[in-house]
């Protein structure tokens, strides 16, 4: 899996025995040490802000907000990994989000009603979503074509895209914000109306748990089939237990964020429930953007590690000539990464415009910077060939937890930017240092 690509460092000989034993145990579980380190860093950041806020930050409702705010960037970062791994860059993602978000808004308020599909037609949002995803794929595909087949550097093509697409947003809407989307569509953006509720959340936990165990059993069986060495049994059980506990824990966490009191009263009235003293507690569960992030992360990881396309992307990034000489259709592979990026931008645009209940001229502005930062903080290297999807998603959460934590503690946005910039440099600096140390050994 991914760990084969990032290359966990080999244990040092001079390390003392205790750390040796811990490393040995970690190696036996085949956990990706980089990801593990990032999780620790993320926890550290949140804990720091938690203390700073007087113990108020880490609560279900707040964490849900944080993840929802990071969701768009996280989703796009999964695509940016493949783009950077294959030695390209996409500067146009923020502008693609802008164009697609404005398209959703105009489709729902203007274009589709003109075709007789009004805001009251139940499937309007699906039609709009499908068209939006198509627009994203088209824009990505067109840029990808110019890059892969015409041979214009991706930096130039997507810089052009950044400018011209942002201008297109203005032209599309004649410079005005558009609001008033379909209620069903707005659920994509999360919030109190866009969460799946208690039961469905437990169901998600159950499915995840079964899937994790199933995957572990399947992998073990596969390795047995060929007589390869397998993980020690304790490691398998531990991994399964951790995975399951995480799924159940996260679900329980999500289910302990509740509908606001006012809406809960309304809910009680609608469902004929008498409100208990102290108010009715209606668990919200997972909001849709979080499920989208999880879904996209899984799908993209699968694509990157279990499909030829992903293998080719990484091989091309490692050695473009070797990939070409191996008979890989490298141009089509590159073009596909950009199509995929366009589609992911369209998903992010759906979340963004649904959250806003419309689109403004600046939706997605500067997103390219956060997306690239997330990928890079997540361990993607500009030298090509190196980077993981889960790493980039974690990177997005790290960046957003900084912004949210500072904002939560009342720190002004210029200061937030200063901190975000410094963290970006430190994160990449540490990573470069680690890699260099790893490679000279």
């Amino acid at each position: 899996m991914a760990d084969a690509l990032t290359g966990a460092p080999a244990p040092t000989q001079e390390a003392n025995r205790d750390s040796h034993r811990i490393r040995g145990a970690l190696a036996a579980t085949e956990i990706d040490l980089r990801l593990f380190g990032m999780l620790i860093a993320l926890a550290g950041i949140l804990f720091g802000f938690h203390i700073m806020s007087g113990g108020k930050l880490v609560q279900p409702a707040n964490m849900v907000t944080l993840v929802v705010q990071a969701s768009g960037v996280a989703i796009m970062a999964t695509g940016m990994v493949l783009i950077i791994v294959s030695r390209n860059i996409d500067l146009s993602v923020g502008s693609i989000v802008g164009v697609v978000a404005m398209s959703y808004a105009l489709l729902m308020t203007d274009w589709l009603p003109a075709l007789g599909i009004g805001l009251d037609s139940p499937l309007q949002w699906l039609v709009a979503l499908a068209i939006g995803l198509g627009i994203g794929a088209l824009i990505g595909g067109f840029q990808g074509f110019l890059i892969a087949y015409v041979g214009i550097p991706s930096f130039i093509v997507t810089l052009g895209g950044l400018l011209s697409l942002r201008g297109s947003v203005w032209l599309l809407s004649s410079g005005a914000a558009v609001s008033g989307l379909q209620t069903e569509f707005r659920k994509i953006g999360g919030g109190v109306l866009g969460s799946i509720g208690e039961t469905a959340t437990w169901a998600v936990a159950g499915v995840a748990c079964i899937a994790i165990i199933g995957l572990i059993v399947y992998n073990r069986r596969q390795r047995r089939r060929f007589g390869f060495p397998v993980r020690p049994m304790w490691a398998e059980v531990l991994l399964g237990a951790i995975g399951c506990a995480a799924a159940i824990g996260l679900s329980a966490f999500a289910n302990s964020s509740y509908l606001p009191a006012g809406l809960a009263t309304q809910y009680a009235v609608e469902h004929g429930i008498t409100e208990p003293p102290g108010g009715l507690k209606v668990p919200l569960g997972f909001p849709w953007p979080i499920l989208l992030v999880i879904g996209v992360t899984l799908a993209m990881t699968f694509l990157a590690t279990r499909r030829r396309f992903g293998r080719y992307v990484y091989a091309y990034g490692g050695n473009p000539d070797a990939a070409e000489l191996a008979g890989i259709n490298t141009r089509w592979t590159i073009m596909k990464t950009f199509i995929l990026m366009g589609v992911l931008c369209a998903i992010a645009a759906a979340i963004g415009s649904a959250r806003l209940n419309g689109a403004t001229l600046d939706v997605g502005q500067s997103d390219e910077l956060y997306v690239i930062a997330a990928a890079v903080v997540g361990g993607t290297s500009f030298a090509g060939g190196i980077g993981t999807i889960p790493g980039a998603v974690l990177g997005a959460f790290v960046m957003q937890s900084l912004a949210y934590g500072l904002s939560f503690n009342g720190v002004n946005s210029p200061t937030q930017n200063v901190v975000a910039g410094i963290v970006l440099i430190i994160a990449v600096g540490l990573d470069t240092y680690n890699r260099r140390r790893g490679s000279t050994r």
């Binding site: 067109f142 201008g167 599309l172 004649s174 600046d362 009342g410």
Partner: protein
């Protein structure tokens, strides 16, 4: 920042399909009375716009100036500098070369526009600083009262929520409007006094980079979470403009907050719709139609040789609600000077017409319809019939 000029020139053509461009809301304006009939016949009024990116200039200001000028027998010419200071200097020279008698200038850079003023002075062409102040005693300054916008926002909000927990959402920290003028308007309306007396508590006070709606939404969500964690209920949000107000409203909805009063300014369509729906309490509106008429009339009068100090706005040209507090005759306006600080010794005095902004709430939305700013279809789209304000019934 990205040079928007490129964005405009490259345009949608390269990447977006032409099919996607929507019909522009072509609300054509009728500029009330035809002004200053006495003006000279051969008067050429030139306008140098700094941009047409913001839709208001082409949609509201330009037609009103043009129709006022042409109704008075003058000729209208203009140029668009596309957010480029140097381009604007070239535009001014070319406009004067085309025989301009009066120059109306929407300055891209109020400091960098100096050479254009010199060109105009050499040619004996009087200059009207339109909407944006130019620090030069020779100009006629026509604008809305910008400090007054902040004052109007706060006054309206204090009427709705005289005391309680306020959140302040400001615009870009680099923009003096966000950091200085609007907040001082809030204080003129008594914000600081109410804070000092304990009537109002500030829950949080945040700037919004680039006035971005998304950033405003993210910040507001964090503020709500933080307030919830503290058990604090937010009673009102003073947002400086409409783009930030839009983000605030989205955050309140996402968090399931009961609608609370939110302020804004600009008269953006989405925000006026929110006013109609009861999601935004007040939108301070600067009717650009009126500003254009005043500029057109003043230009014609300058053409006819009227002295700047004795200019008057023709009776009945503009709506009484927006008429300057100083009356219809040009008044003196003391500028803050290049350093932006009042009373620092570098101020200058210019002749001016300072129009009054109008706070729009659900009560007086009919003003928006009457002026033709928005049509009823657009303004009342999606408004629940049961709770619709008078203007939407």
């Amino acid at each position: 920042m990205v040079p928007r000029r490129f964005a405009a020139t490259l345009g949608a053509a390269a990447i977006l399909l032409a099919a996607c461009t929507s019909a522009s809301p072509g609300a054509s304006e009728e500029p009330g009375e035809s002004a200053a009939a006495s003006a000279a016949a051969d008067c050429t009024v030139a306008v140098s716009w700094n941009n047409f990116q913001q839709p208001r200039w082409a949609a509201k200001d330009k037609p009103n100036i043009q129709e006022t000028v042409e109704a008075g027998g003058g000729t209208y010419i203009d140029a668009d500098a596309n957010l480029d200071t140097v381009q604007q200097l070239t535009d001014v020279e070319s406009l004067i070369g085309q025989g301009a008698d009066v120059l109306i200038l929407l300055a891209q850079d109020t400091a960098g526009v100096g050479p254009a003023l010199e060109t105009a002075a050499n040619a004996g062409v009087p200059v009207i600083a339109y909407d944006r102040l130019i620090e030069d005693p020779s100009v006629l300054y026509i604008t809305f009262d910008n400090v007054g916008v902040g004052r109007a926002e706060a006054e309206a909000m204090f009427e709705a929520v005289p005391s309680g927990n306020y959140v302040l959402i400001k615009g870009d920290p680099g923009d003096p409007n966000a950091s200085t003028f609007l907040p001082s308007g809030w204080d003129e309306a008594g914000l600081q006094d109410k804070i000092d007396s304990g009537e109002i508590t500030i829950v949080d006070d945040q700037f919004t980079d680039a006035w971005s709606t998304q950033t405003a939404q993210d910040n507001m969500e964090a503020i709500i979470d933080s307030a919830n964690a503290d058990g604090v209920e937010i009673d009102a949000v003073l947002a400086e403009n409409d783009s930030t107000a839009l983000g605030v409203v989205a955050a309140l909805q996402a968090k399931g907050y009961d609608p609370i009063p939110v302020s804004g300014q600009d008269g953006d369509t989405a925000n006026l719709q929110n006013v109609a729906k009861g999601l935004q309490y007040v939108d301070v509106w600067k009717d650009a139609n009126e500003l254009g008429k005043v500029a057109g009339a003043a230009a014609l009068a300058l053409c006819a040789g009227t002295d700047m100090a004795s200019l008057t706005i023709p009776d009945g040209l503009i709506n009484d609600d927006v008429a300057p507090t100083a009356g219809l005759t040009a008044a003196e306006f003391t500028t803050p000077g290049p350093d932006g600080e009042p009373d620092s010794g570098d101020e200058s005095v210019v002749t001016s017409f300072i129009l009054q902004p109008q706070p729009i709430t659900a009560e007086n939305l009919d003003l928006i319809l009457d002026s033709g700013w928005l049509t009823k279809d657009v303004l009342c789209e999606g408004v629940d019939a049961a709770s619709a304000p008078a203007a939407c019934q």
